[in-house]
Amino acid sequence: MTTAESAASEAELPVPKAGVSIGSRPLDDDFKTVGNVRVNDARMSCTDVNVFYGEKHAIKHVDLDIGKNQVIAMIGPSGCGKSTFLRCLNRMNDTIDVCRVSGAIALDGQDIYDKKLDVVPLRAQVGMVFQKPNPFPKSIYDNIAYGPRIHGLAASRVELDEIVERSLTKAGLWDEVKDRLDQPGTGLSGGQQQRLCIARTIAVEPEVILMDEPCSALDPIATAKVEELIDELRENYTIAIVTHSMQQAARVSQRTAYFHLGHLVEVGETTEIFTNPRHKLTEDYITGRFG
């Protein structure tokens, strides 16, 4: 049973069971997001985005802007649709047969769901770090070099070497792997693999980076490194990060969006959201009452 279904059947009970928080009840379909979804200099702009997995309505009427040179954190309970929404932003959902996306998502004013739009340059521009580390079963070097190679970003082998080193250093992995670049990326530990994937993504220098729980498998030291990287990247890039850690959201992001069962419940300045949440669900979630 999916989260939504179980929530629905619980909602139909005449007397709420003890311990079931109000938070597991679905919101009305015409729910309006609390807070200002628009920003002045939006890099990406989403309007009335709906996502269906077959019959399942996974994202419901979401409007959201992603500001230039900003980090936006997406938080919410498991299964609320954070990954799904993030994957809409570089059309990764195209690869799922049953998935349908409606609404408008624009990158610099250009609709990315336009029939004529080529997804290859889009994905080169909007890079992604996936929730589960997915290195290629190739060498560490080739993992990083693959993107620059297919896009022709490096004119020479030396340049490619530089890109590999720079990307791995930024992802905080260089010191650990510099002596074994020719060994398979799949032989690294889970956390190392995740940093390898981060390095692979930044190697093609995307302008927008989507990160789906990039630190879920990392220890505090590696996490700190990645957060540092995010902070550094923010100067030139736009970043959307999904995280289950409130502290991380508070540390790295300027704006925070709270999702709940497919709805975007509340969005606002991170400091606002964490100190003064306006919606009851947001408050319950960030104070740890459910989620």
Binding site: M128, K132, Y146, G147, T201
Partner: protein, 432 residues
């Protein structure tokens, strides 16, 4: 609180109570599995033992050592050393004479004929070949091991019962006496039967070999491999990665699965109607055989290749697409290389199937009696399993061991191919 824990049985007690039963069930299951494996192995080893015990003697051939005089008066009376003339010379006389000289007491015509018949009809050609490669032999005397007739071969190998009534055996007492005399003189030799591996088919068992059939199988499989691997892999890649998922692709999928189950003889009929009658390709040719076997193995390869492509985790595709690879790059840089071991395994299994296939090849005339070893995919030829089928039908005792020997060779090829498939899979298997 205390009451509750006392009234409720502790879970670990329940677990302990059920343990014995669980282990018994497990042991029972293991014994049944082991039994099945042992039974299977017994059947296989009985089969192998039977074939090998019948067939191994075919790998040696009885020869009779005789001192042959390359008589210039017989070979080249005019002394011109013209090979075409020489080829027409009566070499039978040359092999006949030393044998008759050993048994001067033989005078009657039919006895003489029986004595001559101890040597194979191929023995004169042995001499001819020697002269061909070295004409200076003419006029010299040489001790040569001449191929014995298949009946003598069988007698020497003990396949003919000496105590059976003379009417029931193919060699009479007189011949047995001669063979024993020759054996005492140390003239009867058993040598490795290299002719079995290089000769084509023959009516004379001692001259018959699998060389022609092996070459025919080789050309047939070559055509099959060259066609079915690229076509099968391309079809699988298209269907799995690029084809829109709709009713048409479902229909194609169902039909491919159906084709895999079509009796192979139907493909033979199709080949006869299409390739031979319609396109006018030659009968009995490995090319046509290869085309027919391509039709037959394609479904196997496509199904295996699709399964291999399906088993590549979607996360790898997402990773490639995520850095901006196009669909085509994703497929050919990542998915196909990862699926390659599976595809190769499927292909080799398909090839092994094709190697053992007989029925469809009968339909396209590869069952003809062909003496020459084919030199290319357009020459008429037969294939190993069909050779087995042909020999199994022959009445001579000597063909029985040759049939088994041919089966041994066929099985050796099959085992080698399957082992190769397993090694490939082990070798290239990757983990993610």
């Amino acid at each position: 609180m205390n009451d509750a824990t006392q009234n409720r049985r502790r879970a670990i007690d329940v677990v302990n109570a059920s343990l014995k039963k669980r282990y018994a069930r497990e042991a029972r299951f293991r014994r049944i599995g082991l039994g099945a494996v042992v039974l299977g192995l017994v059947f296989v080893s009985v089969l192998f033992f039977d074939i090998v015990s019948k067939g191994y003697t075919a790998f040696v051939q009885t020869h009779i050592e005789l001192e042959v005089f390359f008589d210039p008066a017989v070979i080249d009376p005019e002394g011109k050393r013209d090979m075409q003339e020489i080829a027409r010379a009566d070499f039978r006389k040359l092999v006949r004479e030393p044998l008759r000289a050993l048994f001067p007491e033989v005078k009657k015509r039919n006895e003489k004929r029986a004595l001559d018949g101890m040597l194979s009809g191929g023995a004169p050609y042995q001499l001819l070949d020697m002269v061909r490669s070295d004409p200076s032999l003419i006029g010299q005397r040489r001790t040569i091991d001449l191929i014995a007739d298949d009946d003598i071969d069988m007698l020497v190998k003990g396949h003919i019962d000496r105590n059976a009534p003379p009417s029931d055996r193919r060699v009479n007492d007189q011949v047995i006496g001669w063979v024993d005399t020759l054996t005492e003189q140390g003239r009867v030799k058993r040598k490795f039967n290299s002719g079995f591996f290089v000769n084509g088919d023959s009516r004379e068992p001692e001259l018959a070999g699998i060389g022609g059939a092996v070459a025919g199988s080789f050309y047939t499989l070559l055509v099959t491999l060259v066609l079915s691997f690229p076509i099968g892999v391309a079809a699988a890649v298209y269907l799995e990665e690029f084809a829109p998922k709709n009713r048409w692709t479902d229909l194609i999928e169902v039909n491919i699965n159906n084709l895999a189950a079509v009796p192979s003889i139907v493909f033979g009929l199709l080949g006869l109607a299409m390739f031979i009658n319609l396109f006018g390709l030659p009968r009995s040719a490995p090319l046509v055989g290869g085309l027919v076997l391509t039709l037959m193995t394609l479904p196997t390869i496509i199904i295996a290749a699709r399964a291999a492509l399906k088993s590549v985790p979607p996360s790898i595709r997402e990773a490639a697409l995520g850095v901006g690879a196009s669909k085509m790059q994703t497929v050919f840089h990542h998915v196909v290389p990862l699926a390659m071991p599976g595809m190769l395994t499927g292909t080799i299994i398909g090839m092994a199937q094709a190697l053992g296939e007989t029925a469809p090849l009968l339909m396209i005339g590869m069952v003809a009696f062909i003496v020459d070893v084919p030199g290319g995919p357009l020459d008429p030829s037969t294939v190993l399993p069909v050779q087995v089928y042909l020999w199994a039908d022959s009445p001579e005792r000597a063909f029985v061991e040759r049939t088994s020997a041919a089966i041994i060779v066929l099985l050796a090829f099959l085992i080698a191919m399957n082992t190769f498939a397993v090694i490939m899979r082990r070798r290239f298997e990757r983990r993610w």
